[in-house]
Amino acid sequence: MHIFSEYFKKDHVLSQIDARIKLLIALALLAMVLSYHGFVFPVGTAILCLFLCMAIKVPLRVSILRFSEPLFIAAVVILLKLFFSGQDALFSLNIFGAEVVGHRDGLREGLLIGTRIIGAVSIIAVLGFSTPFIEFMASLSWFRVPKGFIEILMFAYRYIFVLFEDAQVIYQAQKNRLGYSTVRRGLNSFGTLAGSLTIKAFDHSQSTTVAMVQRGYDGNMPMLMHKSFNASEIYGSALFLLVMGVLWKM
């Protein structure tokens, strides 16, 4: 679980920026990428984000892992659109007697979606890499996201690591006892693992509640207090969005 942002280098250029501003900028850029009708802006945004990932020293392995799934999906969407969409024939292939036609307009549509995926994923990746979870929760609270939802998010995030370790221990024990040697045994073992995690989740929730009540928990969790906005952050981000807006409009 060393892929969450908490484990990366913390003192970088983006860590100085308020999480609320980062979230706002990310959402604005996302809206621009999604509503853009061309390749240039999403590709440019992806390149910018790639540079930012390098600047904040995200390990290369993590970056590759993070982008592998969206890249595959983008590639397949392009192929789907190339072969199954459009009218204007670009080339044709004879596959076992069946003619498969690639379409120029299909390829264009596929590339539009593909670049949109890459651009959008890059933005959220930078946001995720540069914003600690607690700060992100605090900014959601500032944006008036329902408190119940944020509290569940915080409980879930806190216990993912605990339960993940429990799951690893159970999985190793099952594996050492040939619990995954056949499909049938594998299914049984996986069911047992998932059931055991649920039981552990219940037990943890009871002990956590007792501990929290002892510390004054009354059903509401306090959120991180916000510092006031820094003028340079506001002007800097407004200028950045203005530049991106002009590029988007071009």
């Binding site: 969450f4 809206a31 595959f72 199954f84 969409s85 995926i117 806190r158 216990y159 929730s205």
Partner: protein
């Protein structure tokens, strides 16, 4: 001869790419990737998911007011759903790995409304910190995995229990249909989002067929997993199932 070789190479390349997609897609297959839906479709799914989320949060508040341990329990169930949906399991027919959704079991244990919130939480963490799914597609993913998965799982389980089906069978069918409903909804969302000017149905069928090689057996695996979970809980901690109103206290005695 050269052209034929080139065609074969292109064909092999396309097959490998498609195979890669199936493997990668399976690994996180219930999530629609960030950026894949145009903004109007992305917004529409947020609007559709909003009332379910609002009702889920209302139920959460009501139940947590009565029991202080309920919020931590829901949070931990969200962590369980997160972990389950990150765990690869083998899919024999495809020779690859895939993963279950976990919303079938959370729907059974917590009820479909709160399970929708649980799915939303797991999806948001995955979108932000693992790039599985996305922020713009969060509404669509909540719709397919959260709402369709939870409600189908819950209704199947409850429906079969009314007809006195045993826990294992009801759990299996709930997991199976929850999984398949998720992929059905995902296919519809994808087809409507990326079709452009093409008609909806042909693309929908193509996407659905592309999912079948892995998702058909995966549904069965998820069914088996859900059945295993419910039966284990019944054997080891029936008090939990009674507390969650999955079974009645009299059934434990029997």
């Amino acid at each position: 001869m050269k052209i034929q070789n080139l065609k074969i190479k292109v064909l092999v390349f396309i097959s490998v790419l498609f195979g890669c997609f199936l493997s990668a897609g399976n690994a996180y297959a219930m999530h629609i990737s960030e950026g894949i839906l145009p903004w109007n479709w992305a917004a529409l799914w947020f609007v559709v998911a909003a009332p379910f989320m609002a009702y889920g949060l209302y139920r959460l508040k009501k139940l947590s007011d009565a029991d202080l341990s309920f919020k931590p329990l829901v949070g931990l169930m969200a962590a369980v759903v997160f972990i389950i949906s990150c765990m690869p399991i083998p899919v024999p027919t495809a020779g690859t790995c895939s993963h279950p959704c976990g919303t079938g079991i959370s729907g059974i244990l917590l009820g479909p409304a709160i399970s929708t919130v649980v799915a939303a939480v797991a999806l948001l963490i995955q979108a932000l910190f693992l790039s599985h799914g996305g922020l713009s597609t969060l509404g669509a993913n909540i719709m397919s995995m959260g709402i369709m998965g939870s409600f189908t799982g819950y209704l199947t389980f409850r429906g079969l229990r009314v007809f006195k089906a045993n826990l294992g069978i009801a759990g299996f069918m709930a997991g199976l249909f929850a999984d398949w409903a998720t992929y059905l909804a995902t296919s519809a969302e994808l087809a409507s989002g990326i079709r452009g000017d093409s008609p909806f149905l042909p693309l929908f069928w193509k996407i659905l067929i592309a999912f079948i090689p892995t998702q058909l057996p995966l549904g069965i695996l998820e069914g088996a997993m859900t059945a295993g979970m419910v039966v284990l809980l019944y054997k080891k901690r029936p008090d939990l199932l009674v507390k969650m109103r999955v079974i009645k206290a009299e059934e434990v005695m029997a």
